[in-house]
Subunit: 152 residues, 2 copies
Amino acid sequence: MLKPDPGRLLAVAREEALLGKAEGGVPIGAALFTVDGELLGRGHNRRVQDGDPAMHAETAAFRDAGRRPHYRDTVMVTTLSPCWFCSGLIRQFGMAHVVIGEARTFSGGHDWLAGLGVGITIVDDPGCVALMTEFIEQRPELWFEDIGVETP
Amino acid sequence: MLKPDPGRLLAVAREEALLGKAEGGVPIGAALFTVDGELLGRGHNRRVQDGDPAMHAETAAFRDAGRRPHYRDTVMVTTLSPCWFCSGLIRQFGMAHVVIGEARTFSGGHDWLAGLGVGITIVDDPGCVALMTEFIEQRPELWFEDIGVETP
């Protein structure tokens, strides 16, 4: 079902994550494409930048794509395994596929989505892993806030 | 766990839904409270008003409440059973309770949340049922767009 190279799609999401990092924010990026590889929207986590806890990378890319009658021909591309909020987004709007940079530093709802028939591609990209590993080490309180977990 | 009267909390969400209706939008409202009844944020669906498909009523109320370290003492109040996107929000951020105006015209993820230990109160409010019944009848294409379903 997924014609484009996952690495090419992921490069856009990783670019967004790096923009977020440069802004002092949570370095997670995402992009929404069609299954044919057309870019519909892109964005990164905006918790710090806008004081907006609802703008995870995936919801930012979804917003950027604007209003659409359906999403059955779309692919959500994200640098990190989608949390339950973003997995719920993918389920509700019936997206066809999810491309994930890495699921080592955090694992959200991608197995649940796979069980519901959503295509899942985990790239396991070392650049994405390094970005999150460094972030969690340097800003644990911000990371835990972003996923609603009290800092241990 | 839920001390305040669900009807009093729901009144705020219903007020938001009516604001959304008056603006020509999807008439669904929500509010985030503490379990003690303190209002933290309120909002309504903004698909039409802002061209923003990510602002369901619950995500709008969540955004309005601003950044918080955790949500374990919060109650999401919504005029309609939360869709999977908003149910994922409630799960990810570990909200304690959900007060739902009605689950007759649409049923999202509230049973899933109950199974995960989230408190669920369905008020079954005739005003909320009437609001959605009228909306779905008058604007089916907008309603189906809002939940990512192609108009049948």
